[in-house]
Symmetry: C2
Subunit: 421 residues, 2 copies
């Protein structure tokens, strides 16, 4: 490359900003036509894309990447079909842009309302998963945003091939092809530039390891939509219906281990611990889940449980390990969740109405759940259509972020010549 990384990123940023101004005013039909054109271009470019992915895979194998990373990197036939289906789904989503709400007269005579608008330019930093490239690009387009994509360097060839297919499709439409840009360098300095392009980028969405996200958040000069980890809890309260508590405790931990909405700590009220713990421990043992318990748990379960350390209460295992703590009452459970948790998703199992109300109000998490599994906390289950990330922040988007998380609202004033008195 002749130009410096800084010049290269400035150029990409400028192009994205310029494209975003066209996108912001594009009709739903224009955006859907563009998504359909991308769909068709993917079908046409499938051989080139799979060939590029093969290069990434071979390089990854010779670089001895671990099996899980290679698995995410691979564009199988099924994943390719998934990308095409995903595009169709996004076409069918309701366009959030231009929606006017709360339009009402003020005493001064003006009509005041809110109009939903795109954020502008989204910078997305993610792992080596080529299918995310399509997901993010399609959600950005549908919500009227331009997007700059920076996937893991291991997926560079795949992402370049995908970008070529997307841009060739956009060139056939009324939308500028710079609406979707892939950063075509493996140089890590590009990320540093991207997260400080204050004039050209409106929001950064990082995905990946906690360390990476923390570094990006610290260095970004642009708002970041992020979640660091999912240390989720289920609290089995004294008045829990055990026919609900048992399947939920099993589902929340064992339905999938490597996901951010899996339970990592089980809190059990002392009133039901003697009854509940031995039974649930047997079920976890059948699933191969290792238990790490507080002293009371150890007292009840004996050597069926390992001692938990202070560190365990903070840990997102993302695997078949579960921390277990017996608590005196709901207050102790809530204080524990708000202190050790990650404000992601936390559940109570109880039949007591007033305690359920209090739990809802006091637990400071992006999703608070009564009598259901924490596993429901995702974009598809919440009906957002698709998910570009999950936010554990309180500012802007919170919880699963779909199309609406990529938008903002501006005030609109419709007058009849009114002036301020």
């Amino acid at each position: 490359m002749q130009q410096s990384i800084e010049q290269y990123m400035q150029h990409i940023g400028k192009q994205a900003r310029s494209a975003s101004q066209v996108l912001a005013f594009a009709s739903t039909k224009t955006k859907n036509n563009a998504l359909q054109a991308i769909h068709d271009a993917l079908v046409a470019h499938q051989p080139q894309i799979l060939a590029a992915n093969k290069i990434d895979m071979e390089r990854g194998q010779s670089n001895q990447l671990d099996a899980a990373l290679l698995d995410r990197l691979e564009l199988t036939h099924q994943r390719f079909q998934g990308m095409l289906d995903g595009l169709k789904d996004v076409i069918n989503l309701k366009d959030p842009i231009g929606e006017v709400t709360d339009l009402a007269y003020r005493p001064s005579g003006i009509q005041l309302g809110k109009m939903r608008v795109p954020l502008g330019v989204v910078g997305m930093i993610y792992e080596s998963r080529p299918n995310v490239t399509l997901e993010a690009a399609s959600l950005a387009l549908k919500s009227g945003n331009a997007i700059i994509l920076r996937g893991g360097s291991e997926a560079l060839e795949s992402n370049k091939a995908l970008a070529q297919a997307i841009q060739s499709a956009l060139k056939q439409t009324e939308l500028p092809y710079e609406a979707v840009q892939v950063i075509e360098t493996a140089d890590r300095a590009a990320v540093g530039e991207l997260i400080t392009l204050t004039d050209y980028v409106d929001v950064i969405i990082p995905r990946g390891g906690k360390g990476l996200i923390q570094r990006i958040t610290n260095e970004a000069r642009i708002p970041v939509i992020k979640h660091l980890d999912g240390n989720c809890h289920v609290y089995v309260e004294a008045q829990a219906d055990m026919n609900k508590a048992t399947p939920i405790a099993i589902n929340a931990k064992t339905h999938r281990y490597g996901v951010c909405n899996a339970m990592e700590t089980l809190l059990v009220d002392q009133a039901v611990a003697d009854q509940f713990l031995p039974h649930i421990a047997t079920l976890y043992e059948e699933k191969g889940v290792e238990l790490r318990g507080c002293e009371k748990t150890q007292h009840i379960l004996g050597d069926r449980v390992h001692p938990a350390t202070e560190e365990d209460w903070y840990t997102e295992y993302l695997g078949p390990i579960l921390a277990v703590k017996v608590v005196d009452n709901m207050n102790e459970a809530i204080v524990h969740i708000n202190h050790y948790g990650s404000h992601h998703t936390d559940a109570i199992i109880t039949e007591n109405f007033s305690l359920a109300q209090e739990f809802l109000a006091r637990v400071d998490s992006s999703s608070v759940v009564i009598n259901a599994s924490t596993r429901f906390a995702d974009g598809f289950e919440y009906g957002l259509g698709a998910e570009i990330g999950i936010s554990t922040d309180k500012i802007h988007a919170r919880g699963p972020v779909g199309l609406e998380g990529l938008t903002s609202q501006k005030w609109i004033v419709l007058g009849h010549g009114e002036i301020r008195q």
Copy 2:
């Protein structure tokens, strides 16, 4: 002070976080009782507060502060009454906390909705205006947030006296008195600590000069709700009703000069410039407003207008100066506004429905106005009750920030034992 600034601010932060956990679950009645207690304590402490303000005023005078700053610093009888009235207004505002919206069943059987919750702890950095101390504290309490207040050092004695009254009142209520804390040191390092207390502060709201706000934004490690400036435009379109255009153009500029929603640049369509400009120029001359025009404006108005430089299009005069530009069409007006403006408040005067629609969609400002004065863009006129600031950002709050801007929404899931399939 024995302890370091860092220790002092950590202590304040911890107390605020702890208070916020009580506030988040406080009932509307408890919060209103606390606001009433503060009202009564202000009345009782009035002599001490006014005496403290006198110390600040005398120090300010001997330090030769400028007249405008001294004016804002002074707690006159009228301003004191205004603070009391403001408290009553906040008591009468609807409590935003706990509101549940969009609660509906999902196909899985769970009920999914959103619950409005406080942000937690607000850090407010502002000018030497003691009445803002009360405004900010009361809005924070009503919305269930703890607040840390850092007013200008010139108002330190006034703010300490106000804090004493507020905390003495809170001690009589069910709310922790640490819900409202004033930073009691003039050391500037305290601001640097406040904006990096990531564990204890959820949002920073800076007010004051553009330089200060920019510095805070750059150094903060916490989300900032801010507006930098209000470079607002009125565009008189070719099909404008002159009976609306004239009073709006006068009102937007001359109603008050030193406010962020005053017009700073007037854009006039060339189709009506010959007719409109000479007439409006006469009215501005009567008001003592200096005009700075583009070449076409100069051609029409001759020596009644000064030549505008490129810098003028970017300038928020906050005084009786107005930049004037003749544009070829609405597209040029929109491009000008989005390029030179500050995304605050911009208006079009037109009778053309389709152009009005396009202006609404394309102008990228926190308030977009049709046929009314830009001066309406504030919290009271928008019915927010009171205003803690105006945001020109797109993330989280946009436009005037009232109670709702100090809140967030979390997802709530009400189940009946559902597990994920």
